[in-house]
């Protein structure tokens, strides 16, 4: 299963298509790391693919309801799917998007010689309407390659290219702590007190797409004083499920803030940031590309960049060796074909910091 060769030019990020259904189902079942955004059953997955295809193809003014699902292809394996990620144009579309906001209150009594910095959680709708990065799912064997960088950051080039379809602010939910049995210390300390049931049971009870809205309506509306929570729940605040660490660290590196908001249900961190300030967006530059002979393979240790075409429905991003500032991009035929690029088309690049972790075999 593990490809012997991790040449970064072998991966391509593109919009998911209805024909990807069987491959996505297989991916959802396979050993993968990250945050699953894939619905559990075939009909829901099919509906999601149709919705995404419609969003990528639409020339209409964005309504906020759009979802964009991307897939990562391995060109060296005939285009096999090895990962997926997504964007929702507006969080809480048509409703509200609930989060807990971390706030700190300092209370003091000079007479008692006491001074406390009290952590409180405020139920809020701050992130309603913000664009959401909605998932990150990649073949576990690729965790230590550059493929996760392409899968996560490639989306940001799409947002930058089609900025009027998105908010200028972006957020991403990350899974909080729970054990193998599904028990979640944060839910047990907060949600369970107001529902007397497991989170999974509460979720089933709600069903449907907007279940979080009504669950939130039953949660305490005044701030939660963290010192009143059991130690285990206090400790779980803002803690990540280990499978969420890779995508979270990429977002932290992009400059998102992981300390302000928490997921209402499992206490995991909801990262947020301004699109224009993200590393990949700030580094995005138009590239002057010319067709070139040979391959794009670069010696180990060289710098890499994301290279995206400028098409909406046929958006494509891949990794290519970085070009010197001011220099043109010599685009090998294979890359041009993968990017659906023809002479005269625009291309956009954004430099990556990451180096390939090991020399290509």
């Amino acid at each position: 299963m593990t490809p012997p060769d991790h040449d970064p030019t072998r991966w391509l990020l593109r919009p998911a298509q209805p024909r990807d259904l069987p491959a996505l189902e297989a991916l959802a079942r396979a050993s993968a790391i990250g945050i699953s955004s894939l619905p559990p059953d075939r009909d829901a997955l099919r509906a999601l693919l149709a919705l995404s295809a419609k969003a990528f193809a639409s020339d209409d003014v964005a309504s906020g309801e759009e979802v964009y699902l991307f897939v990562l292809e391995d060109l060296a394996q005939g285009g096999a799917l090895v990962g997926t990620s997504g964007i929702a144009a507006a969080a809480g579309f048509n409703d509200r998007f609930y989060s807990y906001r971390n706030e700190f209150i300092v209370q003091a009594s000079a007479e008692l010689g006491a001074r406390n910095r009290i952590h409180t959680l405020h139920l809020c709708h701050d992130l309603t309407g913000v664009s959401l990065l909605t998932g990150f799912h990649i073949d576990a064997s690729l965790a230590h390659t550059l493929a996760p960088q392409l899968l996560s950051r490639g989306r940001l080039l799409f947002i930058a290219q089609f900025a009027d379809r998105f908010s200028d602010r972006i957020a991403a939910e990350n899974p909080g702590l729970s054990n193998e049995a599904g028990a979640c210390p944060f839910w047990d300390a907060v949600g369970r007190r107001f529902f007397n049931m497991d989170y999974s049971a509460a979720e089933r009870l709600g069903g449907g797409r907007n279940h979080k809205g009504w669950i939130a309506g039953l949660m305490p509306q005044s701030p939660i004083y963290v010192p009143l929570l059991p130690d285990e729940a206090q400790w779980a605040l803002g803690q990540l499920q280990p499978v969420g660490e890779l995508p979270f660290h990429i977002l932290m590196d992009e400059g998102l803030d992981g300390d302000s908001y928490l997921n209402l249900f499992d206490g995991g961190p909801t990262a947020d940031g301004r699109v224009a300030l993200l590393k990949t967006v700030a580094r995005r530059r138009a590239l002057q590309a010319t067709p070139a002979d040979g391959t794009a393979a670069a010696p180990a240790g060289s710098a890499w960049q994301l290279v995206a075409n400028a098409r909406q429905a046929d958006f494509r991003v891949m990794l290519l060796p970085a070009t010197a500032p001011g220099a043109g991009l010599a685009l090998p035929a294979a890359a041009a074909q993968a990017l659906h690029w023809q002479a005269g088309d625009a291309l956009w690049g954004a430099l990556l910091d990451s180096q390939p972790p090991e020399a290509a075999a």
């Binding site: 009594s109 949660m219 305490p220 004083y225 009143l228 929570l229």
Partner: protein
């Protein structure tokens, strides 16, 4: 002629009375000529020996802020799901500011229930009589309150304090109460949560102590009820003990 009479406390009474008082009670005689405060004792006529005492305050909380939790309810309902939850909330505030108060009621240790009733009845009657006779004070409300002592566990600790107080002040509450007297609760209130707290977040023992009086105060509580005072939806901030209230004009007399 009865064997008891009610009079003002004197310097000579102090050693005896102070030994009866709870930490956090006022321990000094009111300033001479004070209109808002009186310290009454009920004593045997025979030797003038005090048997119980009570501090009558009027227009409370106007110099030193007083704090209580208001016990309220929030209903979270989702009709389509058949969910209906009534949740208790505690809201810190100064709601009873301006009230009159029967405070620091204490008696000689060892009195049985009958003896307690015998000494407390004339003391309460005299206090209510004094209230009715007093000139109105600026800022005073038409309410009378009396705080009862709250539940404590086998170690003498208040489960309510352990659940809601200690997470915000981890110092020795008893010691601080002893040191600061009535000001203790004013000081510690600045450290307590200002936003409503759902009781569901408190330990079970703390939830169970909300609005519960110490059994040792049963006779006192009965007499106050007879006089017309009722639990009014407020509790003390350090013990979660009930605060009994009554409109002054509805008091039995």
């Amino acid at each position: 002629m009865t064997a008891l009479h009610v009079r003002g406390a004197t310097v000579a009474d102090l050693p005896l009375l102070q030994a009866w008082l709870a930490p956090g009670a006022a321990r000094d005689l009111p300033a001479p000529g004070a209109r808002s405060e009186a310290w009454l004792v009920v004593a045997r006529r025979a030797d003038d020996q005090p048997l119980a005492c009570l501090r009558l305050r009027r227009a409370i909380g106007l110099d030193l802020p007083r704090h209580w939790y208001h016990v309220g309810w929030v209903v979270h309902a989702a009709a389509e799901l058949g969910l209906f939850h009534r949740l208790q909330t505690l809201q810190l505030g100064n709601d009873l500011t301006g009230a009159s108060e029967l405070a620091d009621i204490a008696w000689q240790p060892g009195l049985d229930a009958a003896a307690q009733a015998e000494v407390l009845a004339p003391l309460l009657a005299a206090a209510l009589q004094a209230l009715r006779a007093a000139e109105p004070l600026a800022g005073a409300s038409a309410l009378l309150i009396a705080e009862l002592p709250g539940l404590v566990d086998a170690d003498g600790l208040s489960p309510f304090w352990q659940g809601l107080g200690r997470p915000f002040y981890d110092g020795d509450a008893q010691q601080a109460a002893q040191r600061f007297g009535p000001a203790w609760r004013s000081h510690v209130a600045t450290l307590m949560p200002r936003q409503p707290v759902y009781s569901a977040f408190l330990p079970v023992a703390a939830q169970a102590a909300v609005g519960r009086a110490h059994p040792a105060a049963a006779v006192l509580a009965g007499l106050l009820q007879q006089a017309g005072l009722r639990p009014g939806g407020h509790i003390t901030i350090d013990q979660g003990a009930p605060v009994l209230t009554a409109p002054l004009d509805l008091l039995a007399g």
